[in-house]
């Protein structure tokens, strides 16, 4: 089955959405990410939507779900690369996507995640503080 690939980069997961997702693909992504966050002990998730030419309320919901689920699993989500036309349309549509952190690009999103993690270090599995 078609899936959107999830890249692991240290403590972060990077997802690049490049296709016009149909519903099942989006929901599979949601599931895959949840599993991967746990598997990889990920602290951050970067979703790159710079190739998405349209975000409707369904995709907005999926992004919101991913952000909430990650948070429950102690990871932070950043959505990066939203195109201006998409942003303008979302505002007009009334979708504010509150609760979802955004950044202009992967680089900036990554920088934000690092700053965030530095501020809230996680204890290691054996209970000792991380270096």
């Amino acid at each position: 089955m078609e899936r959107i690939p999830i890249l692991q980069m240290g403590e972060f997961l990077l997802v690049t959405i490049q296709v016009d997702m149909h519903d099942r693909l989006a929901m599979t992504l949601q599931d895959d990410l949840t599993n991967r966050i746990i598997q990889a002990h990920a602290r951050g998730v970067l979703i790159d939507i710079s190739a998405l030419e349209m975000v409707d309320s369904f995709i907005g919901r999926i992004l919101g779900n991913i952000a909430k689920m990650s948070q429950i699993l102690d990871a932070e989500t950043v959505v990066v690369g939203m195109q201006p036309a998409v942003a303008i349309t979302l505002v007009e549509l009334g979708l504010s996507l509150t609760g979802i952190r955004t950044a202009l690009n992967v680089e900036k999103g990554m920088a934000h995640l690092r700053r965030s993690l530095a501020a809230t270090p996680r204890e290691s599995i054996d209970g000792y503080a991380e270096d």
Binding site: P84, A87, I88, T102, L104, G109
Partner: protein, 288 residues
């Protein structure tokens, strides 16, 4: 009309092209066609093409409806001539005369061929007059269209020029708005700001409205939408230059600026933006 009731113009056009061409050209020369703007060889080619297309179009027997498909080639050719002449600086009359000056040569031909029967001659002359009038008017319509296109393009360029997005510093953009913001202008402003944010990777954009005399509900809403869109993309906006009157208007209108940061002056906004992007400003200590 010949005996079967059809116009004889198609025949005449087919048989007398060379003569028509010569007479037409001398008419045009006499009318003073702009030699400075148009070479004679080009003019001759245009006339020949016109006559060819005319002969072809009238074959179907339709001499009245120039919007019909058989007249398409002629319409396109006249459009093209009209466009190029408009751009060269010809007046609409000068362009239309191109068509109208064919009347006399055609009348001469008709008189020569049909001189005997004045009733038929009159009918044919009338048909020719109507046809050439329509074709000539077509060129003026195209002239109008071309001018409108130029005006629209100039308007667009003016709009772009009047709201430039300026890079103040690494990661900091400024959009000084001057004049009133109507719906159309705000949209263009919004799109160009967001585009620049992406292009420069700027996380802070200062929208300065010192030069905006009044703000109505619609304008305020548009500004709000711009800020929200920028935030969605991952950038923050600071609103600066809000005059006391505008501040009052915003309160009276009940517009909720929500959590948009506002600063009185562009300078204050710039300072805040610098701090946001992690910069510090130091002044070298004077040496004692």
């Amino acid at each position: 009309m010949n005996l079967s009731g059809n116009s004889q113009i198609p025949e005449i056009l087919k048989n007398s092209q060379a003569q028509l061409l010569t007479e037409w050209l001398s008419e045009l020369m006499a009318a003073g066609i702009r030699k400075d703007l148009l070479k004679e060889t080009v003019l001759r080619e245009e006339c020949k093409e016109f006559l060819d297309l005319l002969a072809e179009a009238v074959q179907k027997g339709n001499l009245t409806d120039i919007q019909a498909p058989e007249w398409r080639g002629m319409r396109e050719m006249l459009s093209s001539i009209s466009r190029s002449r408009t751009q060269k600086g010809f007046s609409p009359s000068e362009t239309a005369i191109f068509v109208f000056s064919l009347k006399q040569p055609l009348f001469n031909r008709l008189r020569a061929e049909l001189g005997q029967d004045s009733a038929i001659l009159l009918d044919e002359i009338w048909a020719v007059t109507m046809l050439l009038d329509r074709l000539g008017l077509w060129t003026t319509e195209i002239y109008q269209k071309v001018r409108e296109e130029v005006i629209m393009r100039q308007q667009e360029e003016l709009l772009e020029l009047s709201t430039p997005v300026v890079k103040l510093w690494e990661g900091i953009l400024a959009l000084p708005i001057i004049g009133t913001l109507d719906s159309a202008r705000t949209q263009i402003v919004m799109e160009s700001l967001l585009q620049k944010i992406v292009e420069t990777g700027s996380e802070v954009a200062i929208i300065d409205i010192t030069g905006v005399p009044t703000v109505d509900t619609l304008t305020a809403q548009h500004l709000l939408k711009t800020v929200t869109a920028a935030r969605l993309m991952g950038a923050d906006c600071i609103l600066s230059g809000i005059r006391p009157q505008i501040a009052q208007t915003i309160v009276y209108l009940g517009v909720d600026l929500a959590d948009i940061v506002t600063k009185a002056s562009l300078a204050d906004a710039f300072l805040l933006a610098l701090k946001r992007t992690g910069a510090t400003i130091t002044r070298p200590q004077p040496r004692l």
